[in-house]
Structures are given as structure tokens and as C-alpha cells.
Subunit: 299 residues, 2 copies
């Protein structure tokens, strides 16, 4: 019997234990980080907004001009088979398109590569531990590193170019913070490793529009905020304005809505999770159980 | 008997055929492109400037704050054993440091990861085919994509964040060009996929100083140019000035000095390889056979 307790992968039509899942060291997915990916959460035995995630994934694949020989319904079938086989009822599920190896000796032409699809799943990941999120996490604003600009690598095409995030995470950890926020080259708030970020001003919720991933959880937050009677604004958000917010929170498919109690030395909502953020956090864990957003898995 | 005709890899102390060399799909080297690497050429059975390449690699590893449990002499021993086993006498030899997997469930802290070293080699790669280089290649200046800025991802730490290069390569191929040159956000010439770029003005050779890899072949070119009685300048090089050069050429450990006959619709040196570039090209293939630069391999 295979051990799927740590996760599973779908590679070339086979579901295998995650510990056996590997990619060749000469795949452009490694050597050029030439990959589009997406992550859909599975919660209590069902995918959340599966169509939205897979649609975005296929758009990323098209943007990178890859032909992965599988369509949206095939991707959904692969993910379903993989998660069902794993037995994981709460899972972080990654779908990946890689440029592949170049079979033409010495060719540097991306069009020669054999593009391919694979997927993998592991137990659900909270990008911030739930007990930390519940009391409000801490965010460091990177001082030495800016977010990779959209005209270098398009952040709406979900990708593994995380060098800026990882450098920022070292800065954050050096200063005792949980995670990091990057600014763009103009000093506007962008995003952090695995999350979008929001500011609350009274009954208005504001998040960046450009230079960031258009997260599905971000979109869920905007919809939930509207449902909750809040106004939403997507626009450039300068750091100075951001730091004057009443509340700050993160959104991620790895944990939903994550309240923030501190950004650098600025304390928000008296150093605890703010009421608007906590309301949205609770609402998110309700939304992901609503039938209209779910695709149940037969294990 | 293992088949090493397509290359070999050194992983965890073992030399294996390149076709068996893989990295876990959950390694941060894949999921965060969290990798430092370097490439040293082997030519006619010997490494060229091995110390310089390995020194730069170890500096990259330190810059990314990785502990790969192997020092410079260990890296050299691993590369030597691997190439000798492969039997390749002309080879592209990659050394790689990857962040590794995070053994702490759900941890997003880069300090928790198990960093590791591996290496691989394949038959020598010319980034431009020699017969194309000999008559002068063609370079497209990317119109829609800028080089990732140094304050997002440091280009002097050799890395696999190639999304800007690959996007640029598609632009170049769409327009029938061999390769692509990226500009920085100020319109200065930077570099392309796997090469630095030079402009020749009379007896002066100019190349960018900031926002580019400090290539070992770039350094070799600057030394060879000095030996040849040319003046060298490393400084910002605006595209407008670059396009007024008498000659243009590329430098890469994958092919040495590569003359350029065309940039966009601008023809250089009457559409053939220019005399200064060809002189340096010939000199490079002399330099890589000089004993003082070489580390011979016992096969």
C-alpha cells in the first residue's frame, strides 16, 4: 500500500505518493522557473470555487503560451482523482504547468520544449498559524526589496518567481515578524508571499489593483465585504495611507482572511484582530462550506 | 552500465545519468525558484577558470543565506568526479544550491528548509550555434518586457528567475530574431538569456556595470580586450548610444564571444561579424586552452 498521509501527486496520469514526485533538474520549470501554477483549497472534503481556480490556471497557461495537452475538465478530473486517492479532507492542492525539457540539443528556443502538466496535494496549509491569525499577525514592510514589477514578470500569471518574497521573508524574520509585505517601485502596497493585503477605513475596504495577483480569496473578500455592507475599492494604495488604516488584514487560499495587529512599529486595532477583519474571517469559513461554491469529492 | 552520453548528475554524493536526475516538486528550488547556480565550461577535457566560477557560486550561496554542507573544494571535487564519470570532454557543467524542502509542516519560514547542493553536466551548449555566431547573430530588443530590477532580484547572484528572459525570447522568435536583449526601467542596456552584451566604439569596448550578472566570460572579455590594446568601460549604456556602436557582441560561457550583425532593424559591421568581435572570439578559444586558466580532468 502506498502512504498518502503526507500527500499525493498526479504525474502523467498516475497518482503517486508526494515523496516520489519529482521534476527533472533540466526541466525549464526548474532552470528558468518557467511555470504557471495555481492552488485551490479543499476543505471538509470539497473544493472551494474550483471553477474559478482552474479558469485562472488555464489563463496563466495560455499567457505563457504553453500547450499542456489537458483542458480545464481534464485538470479538474486529475485533481479530484488525486485528492480522493490521498484521502485528504483538508488540503492544499497545487496544479502546475511547466515548460518542460528541450529535446533539441542546445536549443534555447522556448517553442521547442515539451510542456507538461502535473499536480500535487498536501495537508491544508495555513500561511499564518490559525492561533496567530486569531489574535492578529505581524507584518514587516520590506526595506531593501521591491516587488518584481509587472512589466518584468506579470503577477496576474501565478508564478514561482519568489526571490523578492523570500528575500523579504528573511528581513521579516530577522526583525521578529511573521511575514512580509512588498512595495512597488513607487511606494505603493502590493502583496506578500502567498497573500493579498487589505486596509479598512471605516466602512471601506481597500486593496491594490495593479502589480498583484488577482487572488480568488481576494475576490471572495471583495464579495463578502459587499455582502456585509462594506464599500470596496481596488486602486493604488500608498504606504503612507495604508499605515493610517483602522484595520489591516491578509487574504490567502491558505487560511482565508488573516487579521494583522502590527505593521512595523505601527499597532492596529489596539494590537488585536480588528472587528471587520474578524467578521470577514468568520464569514470566509462559512462561505467555504456553502454548497454553491463547492465541488464535493467522493473519497 | 549506465549511459552517460547525454550527461550526468551528482546528487547526494552519487553520480547518476542525467535522465535520472530530479528534484522534488515541493522543493523550494521549484516552488519558490529559490536557487543559486553557476555554470562552468569544460573544453577539451579541462575546466576553464574553475576557481572563478566556484568562488562566484559560493558567494551566491552565501548571499541567499544557504548552508549546503559542502565547501568550494568539495564542489570542485564533485564536479570533477561527475565530468570524469560522464566522459564528456566538452561540457556545460551546472552547480546548483537549492533551498530544499521545509520539514516543518506548514512552515513558511525559509530558515527551516534543508538546503542542498547538486550538480549536472551535459554536452557543451552554444547559446548561439557556432555557424550563426561566425557570421554574426541577430538580437531583438524586448519592447514589452524590462529586466527584473536589481532591488527585486539581484542579478549578480546567478539565479533561475528567467521569466523576463523567456517572455523576451518569445518576442524575439516572433520577429525572426535569434535572441533577445532586455533594457532596464531607465532604457539602459542590461543583458539577455545567458549572456552579457558589449558595444564597440573605435578602440573602446563598453558594457553595463549595474543590473547585470558579472559574468566570468564578461570578465574574460574585459581582460582579453585589455590584452588586445583596447580600452574598456563598464558603465550605464543607454540604448540610443548602444545602437550607434561600430560593433556589438555577446559574451557567454556557452560559446565565448558571439558577434552580432543586427539589432532590431539596425545592421552592424555591414551585416557580418565585426573585426573586433571576431578577434575576441578567436582569442577566447585560445584563452580557454591556456594552461594558467585550466584545471585538467583525469578521465
Amino acid at each position: 500500500m502506498n502512504d498518502f498521509s503526507k500527500g499525493a501527486a498526479w504525474i502523467q496520469g498516475h497518482v503517486i505518493p508526494i515523496s516520489d514526485a519529482a521534476i527533472p533538474v533540466t526541466d525549464w520549470g526548474v532552470t528558468h522557473s518557467d511555470i504557471a501554477y495555481d492552488v485551490v483549497p479543499v476543505w471538509q472534503g470539497g473544493f472551494f470555487r474550483l471553477d474559478n481556480y482552474v479558469t485562472r490556471f488555464m489563463a496563466s497557461v495560455a499567457a505563457l503560451r504553453m500547450d499542456i495537452s489537458i483542458d480545464a475538465s481534464g485538470v479538474k478530473a486529475a485533481l479530484t482523482e488525486m485528492v480522493a486517492t490521498s484521502g485528504l479532507r483538508d488540503s492544499y492542492v497545487a496544479m502546475v504547468a511547466a515548460r518542460g525539457q528541450n529535446p533539441v540539443s542546445g536549443s534555447r528556443d522556448p517553442r521547442d520544449c515539451n510542456n507538461h502538466f502535473y499536480a500535487w496535494c498536501v495537508p491544508y496549509v495555513h500561511i499564518v498559524k490559525p492561533e496567530v491569525a486569531d489574535r492578529g499577525t505581524s507584518v514587516w514592510v520590506a526595506k531593501h526589496i521591491c516587488r518584481i514589477p509587472a512589466n518584468s514578470v506579470d503577477p496576474t500569471v501565478k508564478n514561482y518567481h519568489w526571490g523578492d518574497f523570500t528575500g523579504g521573508m528573511f528581513e521579516a524574520k530577522d526583525h521578529g515578524f511573521e511575514t512580509v509585505l512588498l512595495l512597488d517601485h513607487l511606494g505603493n502596497v502590493t502583496e506578500g508571499p502567498g497573500f493579498n493585503i487589505f486596509a479598512v477605513f471605516g466602512d471601506r475596504v481597500v486593496t491594490a489593483d495593479l502589480g498583484v495577483l488577482h487572488g480568488i480569496t481576494r475576490r471572495t473578500v471583495l464579495e463578502m465585504a459587499t455582502e456585509a455592507g462594506l464599500a470596496v475599492e481596488t486602486r493604488p494604495l500608498p504606504l503612507e495611507e495604508f499605515l493610517e488604516a483602522d484595520e489591516v488584514f491578509l487574504s490567502s487560499s491558505g487560511g482565508g482572511v488573516i487579521p494583522v495587529a502590527r505593521v512595523d512599529d505601527r499597532v492596529f486595532s489596539n494590537g488585536v484582530a480588528g472587528p471587520v477583519a474578524m467578521g470577514l474571517r468568520v464569514r470566509y469559513f462559512d462561505w467555504i462550506t456553502r454548497a454553491e461554491h463547492r465541488t464535493e469529492i467522493s473519497y
